[in-house]
Amino acid sequence: MYNSIVMVKQVPDTANISGKVMKDDGTVNRAKLPAIFNHEDKEALEIALQIKEQYGGTVSVITMGPPRASDMLKECFYMGADKAYLISDRKFAGSDTLATSYVLSEAIKYVGNFDFVFAGRQAIDGDTAQVGPQTAEKLNLSQVTYVEEILNVKNNVARIKRKIDGGQEVVDAQLPVLLTVIKGAQEPRPFSAKKIMIYKSAKTLLDLEKIANENSLLYLDELVQEYKDKNLYIETLSTTDLSEIDDTRIGLHGSPTKVHKVESVVLSGGEVTKIEPTEEGIGALIDELLNDHILG
């Protein structure tokens, strides 16, 4: 039996971004962007589910993000996750990778009881690949980055194939360990229709608060209990639930890096020589390149 915690992130679909989504302070206005499940995180979840199927154990997913990230957590249920945690608090706003890794490490301590912590190598909105190793450091865990495949797990040792610059490596990692998974490692399974029917009505604390507010006959704690009993509760943690958390280490204030300046790029322009896509046009271009000894 091996238990896994998978760190997942909802990311803006970077194919649909314009400059307007940047706020004046240089941070991103995520509310204005279509949000998707970061694909490498999804592949990490797939590997965790395979471990569970092969060796037994549980798979919990955690995300730090705004309330709407619960849509992605439901998708984790549709794939087979057992438990989901939404770490959400306005105080987290503006966190850089270091502050984020601090919050995630505290949340992982809260969830506890794990052999593997998984994450995608990087998220497509920042491409930093920093949060995984930063979290490992805070948890005093060893790490294997760029994971392609877990070959087997025996006696608390995982044999792992990973990519390195210019090649591949096979390592034995003593558990517990944090792994970051690269694109193409494992194709994530499709959502199970049966699981969609069950988990589409999963709710976060924030969802249930809203329901309770709209209906005076319902009490929040009873609702939460009801959803917990049905295993449809997305556990929702804020700074008050993570009692050990140090407020000076989160959000913009807890982030060593600050955005000093954001500039739109101005293209030099005006110097391009237009070449017609005809024999004459291309022929003249080739002549020029040959004369200048750039070609030939």
């Binding site: 270091l98 930063q134 790490q143 090649g167 000093h260 500039e263 237009k274 080739i286």
Partner: protein, 339 residues
């Protein structure tokens, strides 16, 4: 901030005694930053039997090399390396630490930043030192960590105003490598390795590594294809043109993601930065992340069916047309002219 040092450190990555190019490139950049700070440049060399590497770094302007030489460091493993780096950074508080944005650097730098509570910016395309006013406070000689951000068309300047150590990773090829005319070596500081029970949590079972056969950085002519080519079949046109003009094939990130071409041939911020004498840019819109990796080419020929594509803004020659029509025409004409 008070009591900050003027030391610039570069983590020197080496495998089996061979130094990664990106580390030498960073030494050259580090030399400039150290000069600007009136400070000193230190190379940090971790490995086994690598004293010669520490000495080699002096050619690139290093004043002092910190050397930890021990069998446990023969091959990179995250914990022994991060543990020793954490200790060095915590004890010495260098003002700047630079890492190559390699698989190793991207695993190591975040751990060190996390442990030492330092600011870390990934994949910088430019590093400068300037006085900065941030939130009405004046800061002297901060490291500006400059990188394209968030989908394109935006360049972000990141700073670490209130922490003593500023860290950044940089991709291979972004900075230019050169040997200094008059090296000024002061010393090799040998630091003792301290064993720890966590050293063997990760054991390397087998490893293979081969020198990349692809040498985009050294190629005088590069033909880069983008997602605009549409299919892997169409991408063969890129190969055909490269064969005809004696160039190397490369791709944009979108082309790599679509599986048209291998990742080691990716040009751009998260791939390789190139400075060839001629580059063909075909079916590429020209997002800032891509342009950052190729805009210093001597001559840029852009071929795109969209006359509004940003790539035309930096090209020297622009051909508005379909790759399927323009490339075969170019190849035929070129071959005829060579006859």
């Amino acid at each position: 901030m008070e009591n900050v040092t003027k030391e610039v450190w570069v983590f020197v990555e080496q495998h089996d005694g061979k130094v990664a190019d990106v580390s030498l490139e960073l030494l050259s950049k580090g030399r400039k930053l150290a000069d600007r700070l009136n400070g000193i440049l230190k190379a940090v060399v971790l490995g086994y039997n690598v004293k010669n590497i520490a000495e080699e770094t002096f050619k690139y302007g290093v004043n002092s090399a910190i050397l930890i030489d021990h069998p446990s460091l023969e091959k990179y493993r995250p914990l022994p390396f991060s543990r020793m780096m954490n200790k060095l950074v915590n004890e010495n508080k260098p003002r700047i630490v630079l890492f190559g944005a390699t698989v190793v650097g991207r695993g190591l730098a975040p751990r060190v930043a996390s442990n030492t509570v330092s600011g870390l910016t990934a994949d910088c395309t430019e590093l400068q030192i300037k006085d900065v006013t941030y939130l009405k406070k004046d800061y002297k000689d901060l490291l500006l960590q400059i990188r394209p951000a968030f989908g394109g068309n935006i360049i972000a300047t990141i700073i670490t105003p209130d922490n003593p150590v500023q860290m950044a990773t940089v991709r291979e090829g972004v900075m230019e490598m050169y040997e200094v005319e008059t090296p000024n070596p002061i010393s090799i500081e040998e630091v003792e390795y301290i064993e720890d029970s966590t050293d063997d949590l990760i054991k390397i079972v087998e490893q293979y590594r081969e020198e990349s056969k692809v040498n985009l950085k050294g190629a005088p002519i590069i033909v880069v294809g983008g997602y605009g080519l549409g299919t892997k079949e169409n991408f063969k046109l890129i190969q055909a043109l490269a064969d005809a003009v004696g160039g190397e094939v490369a791709g944009s990130r979108a082309a790599v993601d679509a599986g048209f071409v291998d990742h080691d041939r990716q040009v751009g911020q998260t791939g390789v930065t190139v400075r060839p004498k001629l580059i063909f840019s075909i079916g590429i819109s020209g997002a800032i992340q891509h342009r950052a990796g190729m805009q210093e080419a001597n001559k840029i020929i852009a071929i795109n069916s969209d006359p509004e594509a940003p790539i035309f803004g930096i090209a020297h020659y622009g051909i508005v047309g379909k790759a399927e029509e323009v490339i075969p025409k170019f190849i035929d004409l070129y071959k005829n002219k060579l006859k």
